[in-house]
Amino acid sequence: MSKMNRRQLLMSGVAGAVVMGLPGGAGAQSQRPLRIGMSATNVNSLDPRKSVQNADNFVQRQIYDSLLDPPYGTFDLDYEDVIKELAESWEVSPDSKSWTVKLKEGVKFHKNAGELTSEDVKYTYDSIMDRANSSTQRVYITDLDNVEIVDKYRIKFNLKQPNPNFHASGLISIIGSIIPKSVAGTMSMEQYARNPIGTGPYELAGPVSGGAVTLKAFKDYYGKKPEIETVEFRYMSDPTARTLALLKGDLDIIEGARLPGWVQQLKQQKPDVIIDQTRPGSIKTFFFNMSKKPFDDIRVRKALRYGINRDVLIAAFGGIAGPSWGINPPDFPGGFKEGELPEELRYNYNPEKAKALLAEAGHSRLKFEIIMTQREDYASIMLMVQDMWRQIGVDMTIRTIDHTTYHAEKDKDVNAVVLQSSTFAPVSTQIPVTYYRSAAEVKPDGSGDQNYSHYGAIGGPGVDDLLDRALAEGNLAKRQGIIREAELKILQDMPAFTICTLSFVYARSPKVNLGFDVKAGYARYRLGNAKFTA
């Protein structure tokens, strides 16, 4: 017994917990691999149709080329600026209901899976639209009616209604990643998730293990061959382990921790580190579940909104968070700037008003419990909001669970207050339609979508009509006008609100040059042009 206790005592040292997550030292290699640490525990799926986590999307972005994409490092979606990866050219009909893409010729798939043709494009989109496949990308192309093969290299996307932004929702990565039709008969979607075949600059180098993926340069790539032969992705969910691995030189790029002060602290340790930061990054949205009391009461919802000090929360993140006055952040086309909103819809921090509204609603001490993910960006925001709400007499108890379980539970309508984080293309309709339309209402069996407040189904008359009108409008400026009208109504009803934006942060060794500067975009970038500078 005494031996056991001494051993236990030794085990109680905290240093071991830090060291456990570290990868082993890299051996000397003639061809140096690029090593990247991602914030996730395990590979989930490398099939773009089934992707649920950003770490997998980052890997997919190297394996697949997309039909179109914003210029690297940006989220520029102007027709004349988007770059053509698999597309040789593209055109949109005057009514924005028909999009035709001409493919590059001679593009080869990895693993001798043949040449890319319009058959493969049709197969990819048909399989996304097939409800039986439960593709996570289907929600982005609900306005797509059918995909029509014009000839071997020409394909036409016919929409149900005009959409001048279809390229943003349907043709750029990850959804625009094309899968070879030939895999349909040779492996199931589950098998394909671990054996992806694309047309990108890198292909899978070996079997996918739980927490590691190795890619090698694709020798038959149609474009410029990558300078770095091998890229290794390591899935490390612990931000401290990733940080230490970067400082030690075991990793070249890491997904940063979106925590208050993390960037500043890393720079103190490694002043020459390069921080790649996307703006606005992910949109953090707070939902009040209007199907649960007392959140059906508009006074309670407004009180809780007034109880949040937006400025303090953003300042705490030290330069990676940004404000959002309306539903769409000010960085998006048509997004409200502070001065454009009437005073009462800016919801500036006002704890006295919050307390008065709660008292008026008959709640001197409001108590409720929620579940929350452990992921650092969600947990930080919730912890700060919990403290702010405590000041206005609201006790929110947080029960912490792991990230995957949180998403599963949240989608079953269990929480009274939901925090959701997503990255959207800068298109004015995407956030309102995804979060505030009654058709997207969350359902207890998990079959619903992301309207966690039940807005439209409960309250919010007229907003569905406005959103439908916006979606049917082919003129972009008019579209934005209708969306702004809907936003004003949503702000008035306060079923949910955009609490802030939060940049995705990657920390990169100064020895790695990406070939472009990261300013905006999704939380992933291409490595095909990357090279070591030292």
Binding site: N5, G13, P239, Q265, A316, L383, D387, R399
Partner: protein, 295 residues
């Protein structure tokens, strides 16, 4: 059938008050043990009087004083939300000690009853209890604690259940083995012959004579319970935010350990000191109560 069994003297040779006083005097003869007892006492006082000792509210955030190192104002510095680490460390003693005492106590009571029944009745009761405890023993306590916490969900009550359950087989084994060895004593035969009920025999004859080893086991597992509480809170399965526990202070401090290690050092130090003190006292109690090691 013997009538009037109260006339027959079959009482077991229980430990006398003098024996216990002797054990205590041996225990306090060692200065290290005394020092450890003082440390444990200090931790309990700290936990009980935390609201009066702690200089600040442990959950109050202060965005004007985020991630600060130790200073005259904040002795242990502040975390990334501007919370006072000293106050959090003081309050963190509460879940750790409450769990450190409650989990072995609950496991001790339940495990002793089950183990005594298995040892006394033998047969299928013994076989079922032994196999179940064998299965539970196959899992390390921490792993079992994680599994049960994950199944029940996080929270203090669930944590007590999880750790008590993880400790249960340890007490069952000791109680069963001790009961079986005492069952061979002539005074048990005499008690049975005198017509005493099994319940009275267990309570009056067996329990007092197996209490020594059980107290030793309980003392030694207090330290383990504190360590497991810290580990589970570190993993997010224990004490929930914003409440402080030594484990979650270390967890929160880990991401800023490189520039502001005060949280990790402070909470790590108190966990180490507390576990060490309980272990040393546990070892000393074992030495005193184990007859073979006594002069």
């Amino acid at each position: 059938m013997i009538a009037g069994n109260e006339s027959i003297a079959v009482e077991a040779p229980e430990q006398t008050r003098a024996d216990r006083l002797g054990a205590w005097s041996i225990l306090v003869r060692n200065p290290i043990t005394v020092a450890c007892l003082f440390v444990i006492g200090a931790f309990f006082l700290m936990a009980i009087f935390a609201p009066w000792i702690a200089p600040r509210d442990p959950v109050k955030q202060n965005y004007l004083a985020m991630s600060q190192g130790p200073s005259a104002q904040y002795w242990f510095g502040t975390d990334r939300y501007g919370r006072d680490i000293l106050s959090r460390t003081i309050y963190g003693a509460r879940p750790s000690l409450a769990l450190g005492v409650l989990a072995p106590l609950l496991a001790g009571v339940a495990g002793t009853i089950i183990g005594m029944l298995a040892g006394y009745f033998g047969g299928w009761v013994d076989r079922v209890v032994s196999r179940i405890s064998d299965v539970l023993m196959a899992f390390p306590s921490l792993l079992l604690g994680i599994m049960i916490s994950a199944a029940l969900g996080p929270g203090f009550t669930n944590l007590i259940v999880a750790i008590s359950f993880a400790f249960l087989p340890r007490f069952i084994r000791v109680a069963r083995a001790s009961t079986m060895s005492i069952m061979a004593e002539p005074y048990i035969d005499a008690s049975v012959a005198s017509g005493q009920t099994w319940f009275r025999i267990l309570r009056k004859q067996i329990l007092p004579n197996i209490s020594g080893p059980l107290i030793v086991v309980a003392t030694l597992w207090v330290a383990t319970a504190i360590r497991i509480e810290a580990s589970l809170s570190f993993l997010g399965l224990g004490t929930q935010p914003p409440a402080a526990s030594w484990g979650n202070i270390i967890r929160d401090g880990l991401t800023e350990m490189l520039v502001n290690p005060s949280a990790v050092i402070a909470a790590g130090f108190v966990v180490t000191l507390c576990v060490l003190a309980f272990n040393m006292v546990g070892d000393a109690v074992r030495d005193v109560l184990d007859p073979e090691s006594r002069d």
